[in-house]
């Protein structure tokens, strides 16, 4: 698992589509496409540039006026999944 301070970004190898439905991504390690909805789309969008889990959690907590600890837990789970399927590259 990548450290919380690791710098991460969308992998250029991901094939994706963004629309009113959310974001559909097919990462190198995915067998089937994955649909990102709601705040997961926001996370994905932030990851179009290099970022860290901390920065993403803070942006998300601020945007949705939510508890940072709760948001951080959700962001951790999502980012771990995305790293496992090679949807993200870690610097």
């Amino acid at each position: 698992m990548a450290k919380a301070s690791a710098v991460i970004k969308q992998s250029p190898e991901v094939i994706s589509r963004t629309g009113p439905f959310g974001v559909v991504i097919l990462a190198p390690g995915d067998l089937e496409p994955r649909l990102l909805e709601g705040s997961a789309c926001f996370v994905w969008d932030l990851l179009s540039d290099w970022s860290t889990r901390e920065d993403i959690s803070q942006s998300l907590a601020q945007l949705f006026e939510a508890d940072l600890e709760v948001v951080s837990r959700d962001v951790e789970i999502l980012i771990d999944e995305l790293i496992a399927t090679e949807a993200l590259v870690v610097s």
Partner: protein, 375 residues
């Protein structure tokens, strides 16, 4: 050719096909929630068949369509499904493209994926159901072998040995998982596929990116001409998405229509462009413009009329199109080789299409007679 219909006359599907291309006033907003259950079911089926789900989804997003919560959810889910299929097809495209390129084949991506990435505001506006590739005639067999080695099965065997690389439109390959690749040598079966300048399709290149890989496709003008070939010569009633492609390229993407007509003239296919534009403008009910005025007043040559009949007459078939191609083949030797291939096809091809050599001969001779009688 008939005149453009009034806004009241166009159906809800035709309306969706034109979303984003016409200005809509408040009164022209369409309301799906006013449909009965049966009307909604039929409209919904139409959206899927005509590949218009993304446009309906964006119409809901920009307010030119309104819907009940349930209808909105269905369209949004359909859009996500259509885009899931698109990314799966694009992964297969990358695999095949890479293998063909490694084998030294100068491959070009056609239609769906290329048009979605280059001709629409965003690729999520355009759904597609297969992968289309164009390869140079002399590498058609090698490209076919790559697909077969990767597990794809050719749907119909070659008419006779060497026909594909010399005269054929191409072949359709399907994989066990249901994905399909159309491998093209040219843009159409029959006469119009035999008179176009294939070399120019490979000379004028445009590129687009998928998953970090740059892929080559044909030029914007050639994509427009191909869209016209597909809409005017493909299905009797073309899919609305095929007509939308033409309108999108002309109205939003500013294809140089006059230059396209010059190229079409050199390909002896101006009538194809005229028919495609007329179909698009009438069906989608777009405001008249120069392109539509030209299409509506275009007077085809005798050759064009005869050639077009093979695609549009009531008894149109692959056989009549191929038979009509005789007139477009260069030279006596070429015509003889073409006719021999049609009348003496391989056993594998016959078992896929006809029951016997005799049935084939009867059908081939009939198609040739029909082609001549219409000349």
């Amino acid at each position: 050719m008939t005149s453009v219909g009034s806004a009241e006359q166009i159906s809800m599907l035709d309306f969706v096909a034109g979303v984003g291309l016409r200005a809509h006033s408040e009164e022209e907003i369409r309301h799906l929630e006013q449909m009965s259950e049966a009307e909604w079911a039929e409209f919904h089926r139409g959206l899927l068949l005509e590949r218009l789900v993304p446009l309906a989804s964006y119409a809901l997003d920009n307010g030119s369509l309104t819907a009940s919560e349930l209808q909105r959810t269905e369209i949004t889910q359909d859009h996500a499904r259509a885009m899931s299929l698109a990314v799966v097809l694009e992964r297969r495209l990358l695999e095949v493209y890479s293998e063909m390129s490694l084998a030294g084949i100068d491959v070009r991506v056609l239609k769906g994926s290329a048009v979605a990435h280059l001709d629409y505001p965003d690729p999520s506006w355009r759904a597609f159901g297969d992968v289309d590739l164009l390869v140079p005639a002399d590498t058609f067999d090698a490209a076919s072998e790559i697909l077969t080695a990767a597990g794809a099965r050719r749907r119909f065997a070659e008419v006779s040995k060497g026909f594909d690389s010399r005269f054929g439109k191409g072949a359709c390959f399907s994989y066990e998982d249901g994905l399909q690749i159309d491998l093209h040598r040219t843009l159409s079966a029959g006469p119009f596929g035999l008179t176009l300048d294939l070399d120019s399709l490979f000379r004028d290149v445009e590129e687009f990116e998928i998953g970090g890989v740059m892929l080559r496709t044909i030029s914007r003008q050639h994509r427009f001409l191909h869209a016209c070939f597909h809409a005017a010569l493909g299905d009797v009633s073309p899919r609305l998405v095929a007509l939308r492609d033409i309108a999108e390229m002309l109205l939003a993407n500013q294809v140089n229509f006059r230059d396209a007509v010059v190229t079409a003239r050199a390909w002896r296919a101006e009538v194809v462009i005229a028919r495609a534009i007329s179909l698009a403008w009438q069906r989608i009910d777009l405001p008249p413009n120069d392109a539509y005025a030209w299409a509506n007043s275009y007077s085809p040559s005798g050759y064009e009329e005869r050639a077009l009949r093979a695609y549009t007459s009531e008894n149109r078939s692959y056989a009549t199109q191929v038979a009509a191609g005789v007139t477009a083949v260069h030279g006596i030797a070429g015509k003889l080789a073409y006719m021999r291939a049609l009348l003496l096809p391989s056993r594998q091809h016959i078992s896929g299409r006809d029951s016997s050599y005799w049935a084939r001969l009867r059908r081939g001779a009939g198609a040739l007679r029909e082609s001549r009688s219409s000349q």
